[in-house]
């Protein structure tokens, strides 16, 4: 017990030390105000004219350099034959071929053969049968509900939109999974490639989506295929990661069994390793699908039609009822695809004996129902195309409902919003805006140093220096402020909720399930209630961020508390701890490292959501990225993206290191 206390005390001391230093700096450097035209160099990095004073005003003209590189790639001809851009466009055309096919199957049909798209009845029936096969009637019910909703509420074309989105996903998800799988395998087999791949994955995953988009626009263009390529780039890293983990975690014995059976290298890979790691690999596929779904709204920014595109337009026009209807469709599809792919990942092969019918019941049912459906489709046009007059739409009622709801809450919500702004957000913002970059570099360096790793200290200092010298310091600090404010609120909500949930098995289950469901929502969905309740302001942005990023906080708190070894709890109870003492003196200190990891995840989620929230007009880095997107300024987009990534990576490095050190001091295995 004492040991834990001393550790905590030590940490708190060194956390606050640099902060105090930071504030002292304020008094050492004279004549500083935020608004002054030429602030002291120690506060805001000076501008320089290294790159010939282009559009950019950073200390180091990264943006100009990047743009020059992009220009070079666009123009320079490899072997004098084709440019890099020709190359990427060539790949995109291949992708387009697949897209043509899936689009034809799902919504365009094959006019040259006089064949229409797949009738809805097929999709619905096969989804239900697949649900039964994968897990049972509950899953089948979920799938059935989802597609029934899409059909029923199709007054404004939700069915067609969904099919467009699904057509894009059914190209991007397999492609991303395949790329991820191959890279993962390569990384496991070639150590040197792994050393290269791992940091790449880290950066790729912490870059905000919008910075890719600009590059994709430059090198591929716009439209569905561009959307698919952006989606693939964004979705393959988790697959690669899980493949690597899966292959590395195969038990040594199983590999040896393969070798002793006399497997060649390829036999090893395809007959032993991949099948033995199939669960993590399939979870990777699940992740890929979820990322693809998260991208359907974002890809709409570069002209990919589908649900995302319409959702975006409705959000922009503040037509919340219609947006809500589409939002529900997106959420239902997300949950369905998530549960289906999860079930697939966890499915164990089953033993069935007997004749063909008994051994392959689902296959037989499928064939049978396909035959029936075909008849139905030919006889009744109803089953071919669901008639518009039977569709419904609730958007008018929803609109009215939302309006009267917000009207009735207008006053209290307004008061709450203003109170938040005046007493919490504004003061916090001004604190962050007045932080000198020199001080912040020293601060993160001090933490890295204190954690005992010179390399760590130098890395994070370099990250911060990059941000400072790129010319977006002030904006970056606004981003940091938004993330920090959200983190504080998330902790205030998430930790107590986690404590409450961890008290009973049943509560834990419910709360974790809710977390699961919330996590499957594509991020843009969270903007809906935020706009509904708080219109467009910092508060609504933070509201959206908070609901999205509280999830890991709750999850990790529950996990940490429930993972306290049973013996320790029993020992404390027998030594006479009350419930409260048990929580605060035993469980919380032991769960603390896990909670820190939760905070880290929350931070990453928040950073991700901040970028999305730029859509409703915040003034931080995300706004700059949106601006870069509309001007197709690839260099700017990429550099700002890197700034965001480095904010994330700085926090991540420090928090993870801190947590793992604490864990090893508490005697947990890291």
């Amino acid at each position: 017990m004492n040991k834990i206390k001393t550790i905590l005390r030590g940490k708190f001391f060194f956390i606050f030390g640099p902060f105090i230093f930071l504030w002292l700096l304020r008094y050492i450097i004279p004549n500083y105000t935020i608004s002054s035209k030429t602030p002291h160099w120690a506060y805001i990095p000076p501008k320089s004219c290294l790159g010939g004073c282009g559009s950019i005003d950073g200390l180091v003209p990264f943006v100009d350099w990047t743009n020059a590189l992009i220009q070079f790639l666009r123009k320079y001809e490899i072997f004098g034959l084709f440019t890099f851009r020709d190359f990427t466009r060539g790949i995109a055309n291949y992708v387009d071929k697949f897209l043509d096919f899936t689009e034809a199957v799902l919504h365009k049909g094959f006019p040259s053969y006089d064949v229409g798209p797949l009738p809805w009845i097929f999709i619905l029936t096969l989804t239900i049968i697949l649900g039964f096969y994968l897990r049972g009637w509950r899953l089948a019910l979920l799938g059935g509900t989802c597609f029934s909703y899409l059909i029923l509420f199709s007054k404004r074309g939700i069915w067609e939109l969904s099919m467009k989105s699904l057509a894009a996903i059914s190209v991007s998800a397999p492609l991303a999974a395949l790329i991820g799988l191959c890279l993962g395998i390569l990384a496991v087999k070639r150590k040197r490639f792994a050393n290269f791949l791992w940091p790449m994955l880290n950066i790729l995953q912490s870059l905000p989506h919008f910075s890719y988009l600009i590059l994709v626009v430059i090198f591929v263009g716009i439209g569905t295929k561009a959307g698919v390529i952006a989606t693939v780039i964004f979705a393959f890293p988790p697959m690669a990661r899980l493949t690597i983990l899966g292959l590395q975690n195969i038990s040594q014995e199983i590999k040896e069994a393969g070798i002793m059976a006399g497997c060649t290298k390829w036999q090893m890979l395809f007959k032993v390793e991949i099948p033995a790691a199939r669960s993590p690999i399939m979870l990777g596929v699940n992740q890929v699908i979820m990322q693809c779904l998260a991208m359907i709204v974002i890809a709409a920014f570069i002209g990919q039609p589908g649900l995302g595109h319409d959702l975006l337009i409705r959000l922009q026009g503040l037509r919340l009822g219609e947006a809500f209807e589409i939002g529900v469709a997106v959420v239902l599809i997300a949950i369905t695809l998530d549960r289906y792919s999860q079930a697939l990942a966890l499915k164990e092969p089953e033993r069935r004996e007997g004749n063909f019918l008994k051994r392959h019941p689902y296959l037989c049912t499928s064939i049978f129902s396909i035959i029936i459906c075909t008849f139905l489709v030919f006889i009744f046009p109803f089953f071919n195309e669901y008639p518009k007059e039977y569709t419904i739409s609730a958007s008018v009622y929803l609109d009215n409902g939302i309006k009267s709801f917000t009207r009735s809450l207008f006053v209290p919500l307004g008061i709450f919003r203003d109170w938040m702004l005046i007493y919490f957000l504004m003061p916090l913002k001004s604190i962050f805006q007045s932080m000198p970059w020199t001080g912040v570099i020293l601060f993160v360096g001090a933490i890295g140093w204190k954690l005992g790793k010179i390399r760590l200290a130098l890395t994070v200092m370099l990250f911060v220096f990059f941000i400072a010298s790129s010319g977006y310091w002030v904006r970056a600090m606004i981003t940091v402020y938004m993330v920090f404010a959200s983190l504080v609120i998330c902790a205030l909500i998430g930790i107590p909720l986690g404590i409450w949930a961890s008290k009973k098995e049943s509560r834990t289950k419910i709360v974790l399930n809710i977390c699961d469901i919330f996590q499957t929502f594509p991020s843009f969905i969270y903007l809906l209630p935020a706009i509904m309740l708080f219109q467009i302001s910092d508060v609504s942005a933070i509201f959206a961020i908070v609901i999205y990023s509280s999830i890991p906080m709750v999850r990790y708190t529950v996990f940490g508390l429930r993972n306290v070894p049973q013996q320790i709890i029993e020992a404390s109870i027998t030594s006479g701890c009350t419930e409260r003492q048990l929580l605060w003196k035993v469980k919380m200190p032991l769960a603390f490292p896990e909670i820190i990891l939760g905070a880290n995840q929350t931070l990453m989620f928040a950073l991700f959501m901040v970028m999305i929230a730029g859509f409703i007009g915040t003034v931080d880095l995300s706004q700059e990225i949106f601006r870069a997107l509309s001007f197709s300024d690839g260099g700017k987009g990429l550099i700002i993206g890197l700034c965001v990534a480095f904010i994330g990576l700085t926090a991540d490095r420090l928090l993870v290191e801190w947590s793992s050190q604490m864990k090893s001091k508490l005697g947990f295995k890291v």
């Binding site: 002793m260 059976a261 497997c263 164990e348 033993r351």
Partner: protein, 342 residues
């Protein structure tokens, strides 16, 4: 006796650490314990030389971490030794090409693992047929063979089961069947029964002896259970911190321990099961007494007879010639051997 040597290990070293090859070279392939420790190397196997004879069961014993598994894996080249040579049927295994190795493993070696190492996505039948499958045998032929071996280990009727549907003992039977499917000459078993309950372990040992009496393989068997070793072994090799401290028959280990460590190790064994009349008899007393016992009778068998009677028993060989005598005194001395040290 002129036995044919199947596998021969010569001065095997396996060190874990930064640059073990260089370190061994610098120390003339003979570093002391001190040197190894000082340079932060983990000695898994040290200077091990051992021959495995055709048709014998060689049991390797030792505490956890003493290097048993590592030595076994060096014999099949699952692990490359840092230094030393391994001859398999007279050929240097370490110089064999990848292709030759695959060939040897496909036809001459079988291995059974502590945690069964079954492929979870395959049925029992497919698991057993796996080594044949990678050789490229046709499906019918290999499944026929697999069915035969499954029958041999007594799992008939479970062919379509998946490993997770079987108990530990049954899973290990599948492991045995898989390793036997290719009719290997050499059978490696790395603690095959230690993940099982004591009762099932006994059962599996009997199963193993039954199979061996039919198949007559050359076997290297690892265990850290001395009872198991005594039941199964023709010879036992005892390892201690990477060194092979003694190789010999079970009786030799007990009656003539090479080091204090071996003596300590063998102290708690039920001697009555292991020692025979010859090994405890008084060789000087060759008088013919009225009662006799055969020289190869285990103490277990003669104990109650001798202890109940006050008289001395003659020990006779197969030709009924008296070669010594046993009395209560010898018996007690043998049964409670640890008292000798005090």
């Amino acid at each position: 006796m002129n036995k044919e040597v199947k596998i021969s290990c010569k001065n095997i070293w396996k060190l874990y650490g930064e640059t073990p090859e260089k370190f061994l070279k610098n120390t003339n392939n003979n570093p002391t314990t001190e040197e190894i420790k000082q340079n932060n190397y983990i000695p898994a196997v040290r200077d091990a030389s051992i021959d495995v004879n055709t048709g014998e069961i060689l049991v390797i014993m030792g505490l956890s971490g003493s290097g048993k598994s590592t030595l076994l894996r060096c014999m099949s080249k699952l692990i490359e030794p840092t230094h030393g040579q391994v001859f398999f049927e007279g050929n240097d295994l370490l110089k064999a090409s990848e292709k030759e190795l695959i060939d040897i493993r496909r036809h001459k070696m079988g291995m059974v693992f502590q945690h069964f190492a079954l492929l979870p996505h395959r049925t029992v039948l497919q698991n057993v047929a796996f080594p044949l499958e990678v050789q490229g045998q046709e499906i019918q032929k290999r499944e026929e063979r697999a069915k035969d071996v499954i029958k041999l280990v007594g799992l008939e009727g479970r062919e379509k089961y998946y490993p997770r549907e079987l108990s530990g003992g049954q899973q290990q039977r599948v492991g045995l069947a898989r390793s036997l499917a290719v009719e290997p000459d050499v059978w490696f078993l790395d603690e095959p029964f230690s993940a099982l309950d004591p009762l099932i372990r006994k059962e599996m040992q009997n199963e193993f002896l039954r199979l061996q009496s039919m198949l007559k393989k050359t076997i290297v068997f690892i265990t850290h259970d001395f009872d198991e070793a005594i039941r199964l072994a023709d010879r036992i090799a005892i390892m201690y911190e990477g060194l092979i401290v003694q190789v010999g028959t079970p009786e030799e280990l007990i009656t003539k321990p090479a080091t204090d460590y071996v003596a300590e190790f063998t102290k708690d064994i039920p001697r009555s099961k292991l020692l025979n009349a010859e090994s405890i008899m008084n060789e000087k007393d060759k008088k013919p007494y009225e009662n006799t016992v055969n020289y190869s009778d285990k103490i277990e068998k003669i104990a109650s007879k001798v202890l109940k009677s006050e008289s001395i028993f003659s020990v006779v060989d197969d030709n009924k010639e008296v070669i010594g005598s046993v009395s209560k005194k010898e018996l007690i001395k043998a049964l409670f051997a640890e008292d000798k040290n005090e």
